[in-house]
């Protein structure tokens, strides 16, 4: 409290310093927080991907040619049969979701023939166990319905409202999708809450059974599905991987007949690996990705730190007599440094809070732009402010403020503490 009072009096006597420091810190923290939030939503628990910590992603299969195919490599989605052979019912698994590669928009229409574009995804029955969708009406399709190749659909509330006017009225109605001639209809069995586009594994607006699309009979070397394992607890990766490698030998025996072999870079993947390295084609490791990210954060901290450091230096120069008096009356060098850092920490924290709030508002207002699915049909990102609010963001802010404070005020504080009290006071006689 004493530090805050002291800081407040200082700011009243030099308001420009306070404004510039808070603004500089706020801008830095704003940029850092935006970057952090962009990264955070990739891995944070986020319905319907609330169990990301237990997710193990299959990634895409990687094939390499042998003998007369040597030198040829493919990276493709898995064939349905292969992904089941490699991952389904693997020990340590609670459920296994298989979904079609890519969520693409197609023209759909309902009973009133009103047409519009919607993103659809073909999925297996385990999909509803891996992802925690909120059903507003109806239910998911069952294993029996899945196996029997029933033509059923689960849709989002946005699609339900656009096609049928309400959520409750949608269940039991039929929809038709332009992609599947001869345009046989699918019966709506469930309506779920809209899915944020940042939950991009589960994301869709219409979900159909893979069996109804004939995807499960696909027996080619290259396929069109990916998968996510929901482990029964965290830290199961190595056990699952050991069993996966054993199964891969069996698959490779079969592939040898066509001079192809599976190879991999560590499947199944944790969410952090999947979100970062997957999209770089594993050119960079996750560690390298983190190094790049944190380098950017350090630069964002250093730039304002240098400016604030100069301002603190000049402010302390004005308070040089006070420093001398404090030293004369018993303030040790260490305590002097601590006092200056603590006082300035509150100033940095004020800037940090402003920056954090600004970043939250900015990200929320521009979420549709930041996480738009350019190829998709979603009318927005469906990212709510509640999604962005994460206790870790507050921790990041305090941490960043602490680091910024040390970077910007550490040297001026150290120099002030090293002053000879007599020189600081200007000589007792003066």
């Amino acid at each position: 409290m004493r530090y805050i009072k002291q800081l407040w009096r200082e700011l009243r006597s030099a308001p420009l310093f306070g404004i510039v420091t808070i603004a500089g810190t706020a801008l830095s923290l704003f940029l850092i927080m935006v970057a952090m939030m962009m990264e955070n939503v990739k891995v944070m628990p986020l319905a319907p991907e609330s169990n990301r910590a237990r997710f193990l992603y299959t990634g895409r299969q990687k094939l390499t040619g042998i003998e007369n195919n040597e030198g040829r490599t493919f990276e493709t989605p898995y064939p349905y049969r292969t992904i089941c052979e490699l991952f389904d019912s693997i020990p340590g698994m609670e459920a296994f979701a298989i979904y079609s590669q890519g969520c693409r928009p197609q023209m759909v229409w309902g009973g009133d023939r009103k047409q519009f574009m919607a993103d659809f995804l073909e999925v297996n029955d385990g999909f509803w166990k891996v992802f925690d969708f909120t059903f507003l009406a109806g239910r998911p399709f069952t294993t029996e319905e899945y196996v029997s190749e029933a033509r059923l659909a689960v849709i989002t509330e946005e699609v339900a409202r656009r096609m049928f006017g309400s959520v409750d009225g949608a269940v039991g109605h039929e929809i038709t999708i332009n992609r599947f001639p001869p345009y046989q209809p699918f019966k709506v069995v469930g309506v779920v809450r809209d899915v944020p586009t940042v939950a991009d594994t589960a994301y869709g607006q219409i979900w159909l059974p893979l069996t109804a699309m004939g995807r499960t009979t696909d027996d080619n070397i290259t396929g069109s599905v990916n998968g996510v394992i929901l482990a029964d607890r965290e830290g199961r990766r190595e056990e699952v991987r050991a069993e996966y490698l054993r199964r891969r030998e069996i698959v490779n025996k079969r592939l040898k007949e066509v001079n192809m072999q599976h190879y991999d870079l560590g499947a199944p993947y944790l969410v952090s690996e999947f979100r970062t390295a997957m999209w770089n084609g594993f050119r960079d490791s996750v560690d390298m990705d983190k190094v790049k990210f944190y380098t950017m954060i350090v630069i964002l901290l250093l730039v304002p730190a240098i400016n604030i450091s100069n301002m603190t230096q000049s402010r302390l120069r004005r308070r040089i007599k006070e420093i001398g008096v404090r030293r004369a009356f018993g303030c040790t060098r260490g305590r002097m440094i601590r006092e200056i850092l603590t006082e300035n920490f509150f100033l940095t924290l004020a800037g940090g809070v402003v920056g954090m709030l600004a970043s939250l508002v900015f990200v929320w207002l521009s979420a549709d732009y930041l996480w738009s699915n350019y190829d998709g049909a979603a009318s927005g990102s469906f990212v709510s402010i509640a999604t962005l609010l994460d206790w870790r963001i507050a921790l990041y802010t305090i941490g960043a403020c602490f680091v910024l404070n040390i970077l910007s005020n550490g040297v001026p504080a150290w120099r002030a503490a090293r002053l000879n009290p007599v020189e600081a006071i200007g000589g007792l006689q003066k």
Binding site: K5, Q6, E10, V325, F329, G330, T332, P421, L428
Partner: protein, 222 residues
């Protein structure tokens, strides 16, 4: 109580060397009120800085209560300043952003084991003693010069030090205010038994003290 043995202080710059004190040998007894006199630049303030452990002698030893201070580190000297020494400056050197209470409380903040309520009580007591208990919430800018110096004295004694070092405490005050300040210093010496070392140019004030130490060109001449 305070003993200086062969204390010299040499200030060096790239161009010039100045001998501020030359082989000073001095003893000041516990409870003594001593004046230090001499023309400007004769080394009076340097002497006070060295006794106050704010500066170190180039050669020689300063002992306070038998403790040789040349062997002490910065933290120990700082602790000794806080516990044993009180400073009164000519220009008061109150912290302008702190009110009277916070200024006076300063030495106690740097002392462990004193609760906030104890600190406030002690501050109230010393301000009453210097006749300023009605100005506790005032800022230094709202006080007269004499009142500022009384606040500075309160700050010097709040930690109950044995020794008060006063550098021209009345130098910036008119005669009436100067007399008030001198009266307080004499009271602190007589009633509390505190040792007072005062630098002054005022012969009359010096004559009222128990001993006058005179300096000229860095040397003790009397």
């Amino acid at each position: 109580m305070i003993k200086l043995t062969d204390v010299s202080k040499l200030y060096r710059t790239s161009e010039i060397e100045t001998l501020a004190l030359e082989k000073v040998n001095l003893e000041i007894n516990k409870g003594e009120f001593v004046s230090v006199m001499g023309p400007s630049g004769c080394g009076k303030s340097t002497l006070l800085n060295i006794i106050g452990l704010l500066d170190t002698p180039t050669t020689g030893v300063v002992e306070i209560d038998g403790i040789k201070t040349d062997t002490l580190g910065d933290a120990s000297k700082t602790a000794m300043r806080n516990a044993r020494l009180g400073f009164v400056f000519q220009s008061f050197h109150l912290i302008p952003s702190l009110n009277v209470t916070d200024n006076v409380e300063l030495p106690l903040i740097y002392r462990s084991g004193i609760s906030a309520s104890e600190r406030r009580e002690r501050v109230r007591e010393v301000l009453e003693r210097v006749g300023l208990s009605h100005r506790m919430r005032h800022m230094p800018a709202q006080l007269s010069g004499g009142q500022c110096q009384r606040v500075a004295i309160a700050r010097a004694i709040v930690g109950n030090p044995d020794i008060i070092l006063a550098d021209e405490p009345t130098g910036n005050l008119d005669t009436r205010m100067g007399a008030e300040v001198m009266e307080i210093l004499h009271r602190l010496n007589k009633e509390d038994g505190r040792t007072v070392v005062m630098v002054t140019h005022n012969e009359e004030q010096a004559r009222d003290t128990e001993r006058i130490i005179r300096f000229l060109d860095g040397r003790q001449i009397g």
